[in-house]
C-alpha cells in the first residue's frame, strides 16, 4: 500500500511537472515561457525539461564586468589569534589582569576572544609567574612554562594534555623543534636545561651547562639541532640537542639577557646587563663580533649614578629582535621607555626610535614580520613605526606580557606560530623558505582533540633535585 502511494505520488509529481513544462515552454524554444501569472507560476525564462527540476538561466552579467570570481576564493574557517599569557611580566606582578592565557582576535582589531585558565588558583594564592610560552603545529599544542611547572595545552580543546614539574626545579622559557619531537626548557635558575618529548612531555635527557648557573633564556636553531642556553650570567653555552654535548661557549663581559638568532643561527644577538645596546657573537667561533651602543640618548649619565635607577629586569635593555629580512635590530630601552632600531650592517646605525611610554621589556616580531609586539602591549607597524593597536583584556585594560604568541589556525588546527624570540628565521614556514629549517607539511582538516587525560604528569616519580 505504501509503495502504491509512492508510485501514485511520483506520477502526480511527474504529471504536474509535465503540465508545468507544457505551460512554460513556448512553441518556438524549450526555454521560453509565457509571463508569470496566477495560473502559470513559472518565471518567463525558466527551463523545464521533462520531470526534472526547474532551472533558472544564468544572471546576465553587465558589459565589461570582467571574469567571474576566481575559483577557490573561499573563506575557510581560519583564525589569526594572539595568545597573551598572564602574569607575563615579572615586573608587573600586581598588574590587574589576572592569570591565564588571553586570546585576542588579530583579524578584528585584537578583540577579546576568551581567557584560558591553564591552572586554577585559589583566590588567596598568587598565580605563578609565566616564564615562557611556545607552540607547534606538529603537535597542535601550546606549552606554557611557569616557575614550578610546565603545561601542554591542546589548542583544539583548550584542555591540558600533560603537566610536568620534572625534578621540582622547572621551568624557564621553552622552545620546540619544528617537527615537535623535542621541547627544550630551562630549569628554574639552575645550570641545566631539560629535553622533553613535546607530544608526551616525557623527559628524554638533560643538557648540563656547568659554569652557567642561573638558567634563563633558551633558543633553538631553526633545524632544532642546537640549543643556545643563556643563564642570567656571562657564559652562554651551545649544546647539541641530540647528544646533549656542549659544542661551543661564548663568554660575554656582562650577564646575557635576551637573545636572538640570525637566519642560520651563525650569529647571536644579546642584551647585556648595564648596557643600553647589544652585542653580536659568532656562534661557530665563540668570538664577539660587534658591540653596538645606543647614543641617541644619554643613558650612561642616568644609569651610572648612585643610587642607580630601578628599572624592570634591572638592566637598561631587556628585549631584542631581528626583523625577518635581517636588515634591522630592534632593542628595548628600559630607561627612557623607547625602542631603538638599528641597521643590521657591519657598521650599525640607529635609524629610528619609537616611544613606548608604558615600558618595553620584550620585543617579538609577528608572523611574516608584519607587526611587532612589544611587552608594553603596544602593537607596532614595523614599516610606519606607528603603534597600531594595544593588547587589552576583557576588561579593556592594557596587558603587559613578555610571553605572547602570534598564531594562525584553520578549524582549530594550528598552522603557523611566531617565535617568542625575535629570531630572523621566523616561524617554520619562513625558515624552510630561507633554507634553514626542515620541511613540515601544512596540516589539513580540522584538529582532533588530543586532551584525553588532562593533568597527567608523564614524569611522575622523577627524582627531585637537591640543587639550590
Amino acid at each position: 500500500m505504501k509503495n502504491v502511494m509512492k508510485i501514485a505520488g511520483a506520477l502526480l509529481v511527474g504529471t504536474c511537472a509535465v503540465a508545468l513544462a507544457q505551460s512554460a515552454a513556448a512553441p518556438d524554444r524549450p526555454g521560453a515561457a509565457r509571463a508569470a501569472s496566477s495560473d502559470n507560476p513559472l518565471p518567463a525564462n525558466a527551463n523545464v525539461v521533462g520531470s526534472g527540476p526547474i532551472v533558472m538561466p544564468p544572471v546576465p552579467r553587465p558589459a565589461g564586468a570582467g571574469p567571474q570570481r576566481p575559483r577557490g576564493d573561499f573563506t575557510i574557517h581560519s583564525r589569526h589569534l594572539l595568545y597573551v599569557t598572564m602574569p607575563g611580566s615579572l615586573e608587573r606582578q600586581m598588574y590587574p589582569n589576572g592569570s591565564g592565557i588571553i586570546v585576542l582576535d588579530a583579524d578584528n582589531n585584537y578583540a577579546f576572544v576568551k581567557r584560558i585558565h591553564m591552572w586554577e588558583y585559589a583566590g588567596s594564592m598568587a598565580a605563578e609567574d609565566v616564564a615562557g610560552v611556545a607552540a607547534r603545529p606538529a603537535t597542535t599544542m601550546l606549552y606554557l612554562a611557569v616557575r614550578g611547572r610546565l603545561g601542554a595545552l591542546d589548542l583544539a580543546t583548550d584542555k591540558m594534555v600533560w603537566t610536568a614539574s620534572l625534578d621540582g626545579k622547572c621551568c624557564e622559557r621553552p622552545q620546540v623543534s619544528a617537527d615537535g619531537k623535542h621541547l627544550v626548557v630551562g630549569s628554574n635558575l639552575q645550570d641545566y636545561w631539560y629535553v622533553l618529548d613535546a607530544k608526551t612531555g616525557k623527559h628524554i635527557r638533560t643538557l648540563h651547562a656547568p659554569g652557567s648557573p642561573g638558567t634563563h633564556n633558551l633558543n633553538l636553531s631553526a633545524d632544532g639541532k642546537r640549543a643556545f642556553m643563556s643563564p642570567n650570567g656571562k657564559l652562554l653555552q651551545i649544546a647539541d640537542v641530540e647528544s646533549g654535548k656542549i659544542i661551543q661557549k661564548i663568554q660575554f663581559p656582562e650577564n646575557v639577557r635576551v637573545q636572538a638568532l640570525n637566519k642560520d643561527s651563525s650569529k647571536i644577538y644579546v642584551n647585556q646587563n648595564n648596557f643600553l645596546g647589544y652585542m653580536v657573537a659568532d656562534t661557530n667561533t665563540g668570538k664577539i663580533l660587534q658591540t653596538v651602543e645606543v647614543t641617541s640618548v644619554d643613558w650612561r649619565s642616568v644609569w651610572n649614578k648612585t643610587p642607580r635607577p630601578r628599572v624592570p629586569h634591572g638592566c637598561p635593555s631587556h628585549g631584542i629582535a631581528l626583523s625577518p629580512d635581517g636588515k634591522e635590530v630592534w632593542i628595548a630601552d628600559a630607561i627612557f621607555n623607547k625602542i631603538h632600531i638599528f641597521s643590521n650592517t657591519d657598521n650599525p646605525k640607529e635609524i629610528a626610535t619609537i616611544d613606548t611610554p608604558e615600558g618595553t621589556y620584550w620585543i617579538m616580531f609577528g608572523l611574516d614580520g608584519k607587526l611587532v609586539y612589544a611587552s608594553s602591549g603596544d602593537i607596532i607597524d614595523p614599516v610606519t613605526r606607528k603603534v597600531v593597536a594595544v593588547t587589552k583584556s576583557e576588561w579593556g585594560t592594557r596587558m603587559h606580557s613578555e610571553k605572547e604568541l602570534d598564531m594562525t589556525f584553520i578549524d582549530g588546527r594550528l598552522q603557523r606560530v611566531a617565535n617568542q624570540f625575535g629570531n630572523e628565521y621566523g616561524d617554520f614556514v619562513t625558515a624552510e623558505k630561507l633554507g634553514v629549517g626542515p620541511h613540515m607539511p601544512v596540516m589539513q582538516g580540522p584538529a582532533y582533540p588530543i586532551a584525553s587525560n588532562p593533568g597527567v604528569d608523564p614524569n611522575a616519580g622523577m627524582p627531585q633535585s637537591t640543587a639550590r
Partner: protein, 137 residues
C-alpha cells in the same frame, strides 16, 4: 578512525569528482547537487554557505568542487555566455565557442536544434543530457 595528531585528516581529493564525493556527499546526497543547477556565482555562494555550515576541505579541494559544478551543473545562455562559459558548460573547444559567438552576433540561436545545425563539433548526446541547463535568450 581518528587520525593521529599531525597526520592529515583524510587523503586530499585531486579530481573534481573526488572532491565532490569527499566534501559534498559526506553530508548529503548527490541529488541535492545534481537537481539544482545554478549559475557560477550562485554556486560560489552555496559552497561558501556549506563551508560556514561545516564542510571541510582545502582551498584546492573547494576549487575542484567549483570545477565540477561549473562543468556539470551550471546553466549557460548560448546567446550571451562568454567563451569560457560556453567551453565549460557545453564541453566544447575554443574554436567551437568562437563559432557560436560569431554566429549569434549575426543571428541569435533559436533553440538547441538551431545550435546543433549551425555549429560543428558539438556533442549532441551531451547537449541532450544537459539541455535543461542550456538557454537561448
Amino acid at each position: 578512525m581518528t587520525p593521529a595528531v599531525g597526520q592529515q585528516a583524510a587523503t586530499e581529493a585531486t579530481t573534481p569528482e573526488a572532491a565532490v564525493t569527499k566534501i559534498c556527499a559526506a553530508c548529503h546526497t548527490m541529488e541535492l547537487v545534481t537537481d539544482t543547477p545554478r549559475d557560477y556565482d550562485a554556486w560560489h555562494d552555496t559552497v561558501q554557505k556549506m563551508i560556514d555550515r561545516g564542510a571541510r576541505g582545502t582551498q584546492e579541494e573547494f576549487g575542484l568542487v567549483m570545477d565540477y559544478l561549473f562543468l556539470n551543473m551550471t546553466p549557460v545562455d548560448v546567446n550571451h555566455g562568454d567563451a569560457d562559459m560556453l567551453m565549460g558548460v557545453l564541453h566544447i573547444d575554443e574554436k567551437a565557442a568562437q563559432a557560436i559567438i560569431a554566429r549569434r552576433a549575426v543571428r541569435p540561436f533559436k533553440d538547441l536544434a538551431d545550435l546543433e545545425k549551425s555549429v560543428s563539433g558539438l556533442d549532441r548526446k551531451l547537449l541532450e543530457s544537459k539541455k535543461r541547463m542550456i538557454f537561448f535568450q
